[in-house]
Every structure is written in structure tokens, then in C-alpha cells.
Amino acid sequence: MARATRVPTPVLRTRKTFYQIIEPYLFLLPALAVFAVFLYYPFGRTIYLSTWVTDALGRPKKYVGFDNYSIRLFGKPDFWASLGSTLQFVGVVALGGLIVGMITSLLTYNRYKGSDFCAAVYAMPVAIASAAASMAFRMIFHPTGGLLNNLMGTQINWLGGTYQFWSVAMVTIWLQSGINFIFISAGLKGVPTELYESCSIDGANYWQRLFHITLPAISPTLFFQIIINIINAFQSFSQVKLLTNESPNSSTNLIVYAIWHDAFRAQRFETAAARSVVLFVIILIITLIQFSFEKRSVNY
């Protein structure tokens, strides 16, 4: 009753009870508690561990400063090989995903009988787990009786040797094609049709329109999408582990797999931590590049 009579808000504000002061924080508490324990803390802990030598259970034993980076990572050719492979993989997957996404989006831009079905199929890989897809592709790439070899009449070991890198990259592009299609397709549909109208009066053909109107108009989408592809590709793990059957050669020893291998196969939690920091720094740089570009905005 008393509250109802004191309508003007300034009065309410001056007489905040203790509960009213802490209430907003109660709303935030569950989310922030989870972030604190499983995000902020492990983030700090990873950096901390990367400056120690740890035992087989990951407990810090001896402070070594920057040694884990300088000696155990940067000093080893393995690390640079892994980083190089990761960058190559990321480049192939980011571009491949973008190209597939671009083609599928253009193919379904106009509506015709069956276009909705095609669009649904092109988006579908977003729903499929990388682990499940990797197991399916293991059968497709099977060296003696897999689909690919049966179709080609060959007995190639697609999951080993020089083919391994491309097999893992192709599966990753397949997995990424759905999200590429969804975003680029949305970008294409956002291009104002007036842009095309003036052009069709001028008699420009399909390819001229594509390169002079469509691509520049959706360049912000493409840029955003390539960043997403890069970040996702950096995080590839299950396809590496499952397609290579835990034995990637140096071309497929990607960074997240190497982190996992350091920790759970070599019991070297300190190098796993240091590698994790390297991964974080790389992703941070990419994110910052994205932010700075977004502020300047890709030409529109």
C-alpha cells in the first residue's frame, strides 16, 4: 500500500533498501559465477601454468618463467611445423568455405522450383557434428573398400601421407559449408535490388553484375564470414583426431590437436598451457583485426 502512494520515482531511488541495492547483482550472479570459475579462472591459470614445469597430474612443480615458450615451443622445429600446418589449413578451409558458400548462395538466390530444397541441403551441415561426420568420412576414405576408392577404382590411402591434409581440410570445408551458405545467402538477400536495376538497364551481363555490384555490396559479409571461418578452422580438433586415427603427420598436426596431445598423450601440461596461450593470442589478434575493420567498415 505504502509503495502505491509513493509514486514519483526519485523518492523510490533515494530510499533503496539493502535488498534493492544487491538485487541486480543477484540477477547476474549465476552467469558471472560460471564465467568466473570456468572462464576467467582457467584463463589466468593457463597463463600461470605456462610459466611452470608441471608433473603428470598438471600440478606446478618448478617456476621456469618463459622457458616453456622459448625452449620447449619456439626452440623446437615441431612447433613451427605445427603452426605452419595450422596456418596453411586455416587458409585452405577459410577460403574453401567461402567459395562453396558463395557458389551455393548464388545458385539459390533466385527462387525456382526446387530452390528451397537446395537451400535446405546447403544449410544442413551446420547441424551435423564434426565427430559424427568424421566417422562417416572415415568410411568414405577407407583405403580398400571406401566409396571414393570404389568410385575411382583405386586403392588410395586418403587418410595417410600427402592426402591426409587435403582429406581433413575437405571434411572441414564440408562441415563449414552450411554456416557459410547461411551467412552469405543472408548477405546476398540484403543487397538492395535497385542496385541491380540500374545495371540491367545498362545491359551488363551476369558476371559483370556479380563482380561490379554483388561482390562489392556483400564485401562486409564476406569479410565477417572469412573471420568466422578462420576462427573455426583454428579450433578444429575432432576431425584431426578421428580422421587420422590419432596419428596425424606433420601437415595435419593442428594446434588444438597438439594441445590435446601435449596434455593427454605426453603428459606435458606446461607445453599444452603455453600452446593454449599461443592459440589465444592468435585468435585475439584476428578478433582485433575484425573489430578495427568493422569500425572502418568494408566499402559499401
Binding site: R3, V7, E23, P24, F27, P30, A31, V34, F35, V37, F38, L39, Y40, P42, F43, R45, T46, L49, G58, T104, L107, N110, Y112, G114, V121, A123, P125, V126, A127, I128, A129, S130, A131, A132, S134, M135, A136, R138, M139, I140, G145, L147, N150, W174, I179, I231, F234, Q235, S238, K241, V256, W260, A263, F269, A272, A273, S276, L279, I283, T287
Partner: protein, 294 residues
């Protein structure tokens, strides 16, 4: 055409119509034809997986896309053979995915509510703290997280799969976006009427943000169902294994296990694809919000 042939308006009109119709049909056919290569690339792996799961064991290595014979032994095996416990993996994944989804709906709607409707000290700073979590890739903290839960003795449990994922910046942003579309007077009017914050959240904000909750739910359920790395690190007993780890444990040593493996893949993909088909709009909205995260 009408102008040049005024004597035969009927015929010319008809001729024009059929030709344009045929032209349109041809164009439609051409469009579909262009789609075929990419449709095949996306669909063939899935069709082939289903075929291998159905084919007789002696045909596994000879199958070209479609099966010659059909048998359901692999599915029967996956569900009834005591050494695979597929039903348990599915049950575990279902419990974990549902719990993570519901928890994220709760924590995200509460946090978003505070950021949008409440005034308090440190609001900007705390919002930045949430924003900052999007810059940290999960894989870079996964080792430290594993060591934490291992120290607590949480490994091999279902809660170790749920609790770390009880909230997400993406969920908070999605709901914040939704709340920000509410007219400002709504909250003011409710406050004047004596509606407290909790009641406002439960009876007004949540029902009004149903589309955002649907998007979050579909996206989070699917992501958790598809999760591989965290369950791999934290569970190694059959009792707590989830589907993705479960199928990856099957080995392709011979034709028989190949068939079983593919049946497993089909079984775990069916729920994922069901969400894709039946909650397509929500899922895509969730994906679009989620992709912003690193």
C-alpha cells in the same frame, strides 16, 4: 510482337505464351542442373552412411552409394548388444543437452534482464566482462578447466558436462537484444503497478522473448549434443559417455564393425537433423547470434 502482327493476335499470343513457359521450364531445369554437383557433395556422404549401416556385411566394401540388400542387424546390435550401450549414451547426451539448454535459458535471461532493465554500479564494467569472454576460444582454456574438475574429482559424472556450460555470452546477448526491443514504458508501468523485478522477468519478459529463447534453446541443445572434446577429456567410463564420444570409440577394424559404426553415426545424426528440420528458423537465428562468438 503484337504491333508487327496485328492480323494474328490470338495465335501470336499463344505462341508467345508457350514459348515463354517452355523457356521458364528450361531455365528451371537448368538451375536445378547447376545445383547437382554441390547437392551431391553434401548429400552423398549422408546417403552412403545410411546405406552402409543397412547393407549385408559382405557388401560393405563393395557398396556404391545405394545398398543391394537391406538388413537392420546393425541397429538391433547398437541398441541391444550389452557391449555398446548406445541407449545409455543417448540418454546421457539427452540429459546433458537438455540441462545445459535450460540452465542457459535461466542464467542468460536473468543476466540480460539486469543489463537492460536495472541500474547499478559497475554495469558497464560487468557488461565488458561478459563481452570479453567472447574473445577467449574454449579450446585455449580447456586444459586448465580439465585440471580444475579433475582436482575436484568431478570427472566421470554428468554434472561435469553440464555445469561449465551453464551460461554463455551468446545467450546473454541474444536475450539482451530481445529485451531491448520492449517499449520503455512497459517496465515503468509494471513497477508503478507494484510488479517486482522477478515477477516482471517471469510473467512479462520471458513470455515476450519466446522467439529469442527458442533460438537459444535450439542452438544450445544442438551444440551440446554435438560436443566432442570436453566429454572426451572428462569422461572415460561407459556410464557417463555421450553420443559423439560413444560413436568415435567404435573402430573400423572389419566390415561388421563398419556397419555398426555407420549405424551409430546415423543414430546420433537423426536428433541433430530433427532440430535442423523442425526448428530450422530458431536454429538459424541462434546460429547467427552464436557465430559472432569466437
Amino acid at each position: 510482337m503484337k504491333a508487327t502482327n496485328p492480323s494474328l493476335p490470338q495465335e501470336s499470343h499463344q505462341f508467345h505464351k508457350t514459348r515463354s513457359m517452355r523457356k521458364r521450364e528450361l531455365k528451371n531445369f537448368g538451375n536445378l542442373l547447376l545445383n547437382i554437383p554441390l547437392l551431391l557433395i553434401i548429400l552423398v556422404p549422408l546417403i552412403y552412411t545410411v546405406s552402409i549401416s543397412l547393407v549385408n556385411t559382405d557388401e560393405v566394401y563393395k557398396t556404391l552409394l545405394f545398398p543391394h540388400s537391406i538388413q537392420f542387424g546393425n541397429y538391433v546390435n547398437a541398441f541391444t548388444n550389452p557391449s555398446y550401450s548406445f541407449l545409455r549414451y543417448i540418454g546421457n547426451s539427452f540429459i546433458v543437452s537438455t540441462s545445459v539448454m535450460l540452465c542457459q535459458m535461466v542464467t542468460a535471461s536473468m543476466a540480460a534482464f539486469a543489463f537492460v532493465f536495472l541500474e547499478f554500479k559497475g554495469r558497464k564494467l560487468l557488461f565488458l566482462a561478459v563481452l570479453a569472454t567472447m574473445m577467449v576460444p574454449g579450446e585455449s582454456t580447456i586444459i586448465a578447466n580439465y585440471l580444475t574438475v579433475a582436482r575436484w574429482g568431478w570427472t566421470n559424472s554428468l554434472h561435469v558436462l553440464i555445469i561449465p556450460y551453464m551460461t554463455s555470452a551468446m545467450g546473454i546477448f541474444l536475450l539482451r537484444q530481445s529485451y531491448m526491443t520492449f517499449p520503455k514504458e512497459l517496465k515503468e508501468a509494471a513497477t508503478i503497478d507494484g510488479c517486482g523485478n522477478w515477477r516482471f522477468l517471469l510473467t512479462i519478459a520471458l513470455p515476450l522473448s519466446r522467439p529469442a529463447l527458442g533460438a537459444l534453446g535450439a542452438y544450445v541443445f544442438l551444440n551440446t549434443w554435438n560436443q566432442y572434446m570436453w566429454p572426451l577429456l572428462t569422461t572415460d567410463s561407459d556410464a557417463y559417455r555421450t553420443v559423439q564420444v560413444g560413436i568415435s570409440m567404435l573402430y573400423d577394424i572389419d566390415a561388421q564393425s563398419m556397419g555398426l559404426m555407420m549405424a551409430g553415426v546415423v543414430i546420433v545424426i537423426v536428433p541433430s537433423l530433427s532440430i535442423f528440420v523442425f526448428m530450422n528458423k530458431q536454429l538459424i537465428n541462434g546460429l547467427m547470434a552464436g557465430a559472432v562468438k569466437g
